[in-house]
């Protein structure tokens, strides 16, 4: 029988379907302003025994009458489980999503030890990069590659998207090469993230998940700032944004196993 993990984030929704310990289907789409419709759309044709929902919209999923039981876990637990499943050796997880950054330390078995999360404001998250990319009129998917073209990043101090734009604009006015400004904006996030990792006690290997882990510049800078090496002490899954939904699906399996 199939179980589902559904991660309803601020920017995107991911669904992972598992049967007998194997992932049988993955789906994803933008959250949009109508998440209910998006969830229903993404779940079309999937018949499950139960589902576990996570992310900001986890309670929303529970309120939809989906025809099978839905339980919820936080994205912190979900990313812990998902990341541990992908890289069992990992000891610390960093998730940079659409509006949250989370750092968590893993105990044996993928349980969360300590965790840190950014405050009310989306500074230094995917939203920050998305907003910054707009200043350069570059699609968000290409912003990382563009920033890799920089070689001498200016120090950008502001983590507030509004102030960072001001800072970036004045750097442009000073004639700084745009690729370098883009690199500086990425570096600002990486440095802030390392502080958060240190607060949970960074133990290697580190696993980097969430949509922002798609960004090659962020991966490089994170490796540089944490003195890690990609694929040795820093692991990035091929589909980093699926790790929350994967963790939720794994938890659904555990619930089913416990109750049968």
């Amino acid at each position: 029988m199939m179980v589902l993990g559904i991660d309803v984030g601020s920017r995107s929704i991911e669904v992972v379907a598992m049967r007998q310990g194997e992932v049988v289907e993955k789906r994803h789409g933008p959250t949009t302003f109508n998440p209910v419709q998006q969830i229903n759309h993404l779940l079309e044709g999937l018949e499950a025994q139960m589902a576990v929902a996570t992310g900001y919209g986890r309670n929303l999923v529970q309120e939809l009458s989906l025809g099978f039981p839905v339980q919820t876990i936080t994205e912190i637990k979900a990313h812990g489980l998902g990341a541990h499943h992908l890289f069992p050796k990992g000891r610390t997880v960093l998730d940079i999503g659409g509006q949250d950054t989370k750092a968590l330390s893993l105990l044996p078995g993928g349980r969360v030890g300590k965790f840190e999360m950014n405050d009310r404001c989306a500074a230094g998250t995917g939203k920050f990069l998305e907003y910054s990319a707009q200043i350069f009129q570059i699609p968000i998917q290409d912003f990382g590659a563009y920033a890799l073209g920089g070689d001498n990043p200016p120090i950008i101090n502001s983590m507030c998207t509004v102030f960072a734009e001001t800072e970036a604009t004045s750097l442009m006015a000073q004639g700084v090469k745009p690729e370098n400004i883009a690199l500086g904006l990425h570096l600002a996030i990486a440095r802030r993230t390392v502080n958060m990792l240190n607060r949970v006690g960074l133990v290697l290997p580190l696993i980097f998940v969430g949509g922002v882990a798609h960004n090659p510049c962020m991966c490089n800078l994170l490796a540089e700032q944490t003195k890690t090496k990609i694929d040795e002490t820093l692991f990035v899954p091929k589909e980093p944004d699926m790790s929350g939904a994967l963790g939720a699906a794994l938890w659904a399996q555990e619930i089913v196993a416990e109750t049968t």
């Binding site: 936080t74 912190i76 637990k77 349980r111 969360v112 965790f115 999360m117 009310r120």
Partner: protein
């Protein structure tokens, strides 16, 4: 008494009537959502519902009647102001509103933006003419606990009759001496204001009244050690909040009656939550009425709060004034000593607080501690590190949450609280 005659009363206090109506509307809705929606509340809680529903009505009427009889109304913002002296001079002491976002923009014209919500709130309430307590006061007593309050009182003093007590920041003999002098100076001020003298007999009676109120709250807190706990943390927070403004004798009687009901419930093995509900303790900054945000988030996330290590909690009720003093001098010494035991984060060092937190966590059998820090409250934010370390050494999981009175971070807080509960289950 009808709503209309309250309106005349509020008008006589120069409140902004339409803004005040708005405030009462929000408060009523908030109370309905957070309190009246609870299951399995005891009959004794009707007292709280009534007192809160009349927070700006009947209680204010009582204060104004007391004033008409020549009694003075003393307003305070801190557990350091010795209520015993006010009572010994037949005054009424009330804690002033500081737990809601009110008049924030106006407040920011007098205090810097990066000031904690509690300070902004009392300044805002005054500027927006929303608090009938503040407007009823003959004297408002501030204290030098933190820089934010200290400087805010300078601005506040231009708007209201203000008196400042100097609270020392260490617990050396010299500090104790300073504090005793401050107690005497305050007493002299109250005496000249009331035209009365504090006598040994009157002070003994006042000490007994305030101690009895502390004793009933101690009794209540002990009962919460039962598993499952017989009363929600929200309700106990409300009881603590009400203790600051209701008549002390009436309060003590009502809470003793409630404790009798709780004892019966415990005898039957009944609780307000299932046996295996995670038990959390709150620790840190005060939650002034109607700041119920975090307790509501925690208790809607499947946990129950069994202790408040806070000024609106055990910091106000843990220590009693020694009642063995016979002479006025002995009593005043006992009074000064008692207040010097307060483990406020304004002291350095403040290691007693760590001891107190650890023993509370053990006595109340808590599964975890949530440290609550009001944004921009430096003293408690600093102590957060030490408290976390101490609790880790003690084997108690803990988490620090920094927030204020606004509602914009409720979802983030909920995620953190749920994640914390996932880690301790």
């Amino acid at each position: 008494m009808t709503q209309e005659s309250y309106e005349a009363m509020w008008e006589s206090l120069n409140l902004d009537l339409s803004a005040h109506d708005g405030l009462l509307g929000v408060l009523g809705k908030f109370y309905g959502d957070i309190y009246m929606s609870q299951q399995g509340r005891l009959k004794g809680m009707e007292y709280l519902d009534f007192v809160l529903s009349e927070v700006h009505g009947l209680r204010i009427k009582e204060l104004l009647e007391a004033k008409a009889q020549g009694r003075k109304i003393i307003g305070t913002f801190c557990v350091f102001v010795p209520e015993e002296l006010a009572l010994a001079l037949d005054c009424v002491q009330v804690g002033l509103c500081a737990g809601a976002d009110a008049g924030k923009e106006a407040a920011e014209t007098l205090v810097p933006r990066n000031t904690c919500a509690l300070i902004k709130s009392f300044v805002g309430f005054k500027l927006a003419r929303l608090c009938p307590y503040t407007e009823s006061c003959d004297l408002i007593v501030g204290e030098t606990t933190c820089d934010g309050k200290k400087k805010a009182y300078e601005a506040f003093g231009e708007l209201a009759p203000m008196y400042i007590m100097e609270v020392p920041q260490t617990k050396t003999p010299a500090a104790r001496k300073l504090w005793k002098e401050e107690v005497l100076r305050y007493m002299a001020t109250l005496e000249s204001m009331t035209g009365k003298k504090v006598t040994a007999e009157k002070l003994a009676k006042a000490i007994k009244i305030v101690n009895d109120r502390r004793r009933v709250l101690q009794r209540l807190n002990k009962l919460r050690a039962a598993v499952p706990t017989p009363i929600s943390g929200r309700d106990v927070l409300l009881i603590n909040q009400i203790s600051f403004y209701d008549d002390p004798l009436r309060f003590t009687g009502a809470i003793n009656a409630l404790c009798d009901q709780l004892e019966e419930r415990i005898k039957k093995g009944e609780g307000v939550v299932p046996q295996d509900t995670p038990r959390l303790m709150l620790s840190g900054c005060p939650m002034a009425v109607p700041n119920w945000k975090l307790p509501f988030i925690i208790e809607s996330s499947g946990a129950v709060i069994v202790g408040e290590e806070s000024c609106i909690g055990t910091r106000n009720t843990r220590d009693l004034v020694d009642e063995s003093g016979q002479t006025l001098d002995e009593m005043l010494d006992a009074l000064a000593d008692r207040y010097m035991h307060i483990d406020c984060a304004c002291f350095t060092p403040n290691d007693e607080r760590l001891e107190n937190i650890e023993s509370m966590a053990s006595e109340l059998k808590v599964d975890g501690v949530v440290q609550y820090t009001l944004m921009f409250c430096q003293p408690y934010a600093h102590e957060g590190f030490k408290v976390e370390k101490r609790l880790t050494d003690h084997g108690t999981p803990s988490m620090i949450l920094e927030t204020d009175y606004s509602m914009e971070d409720v979802e983030q807080l909920k995620t953190r609280v749920e994640a914390f509960l996932e880690t301790i289950k």
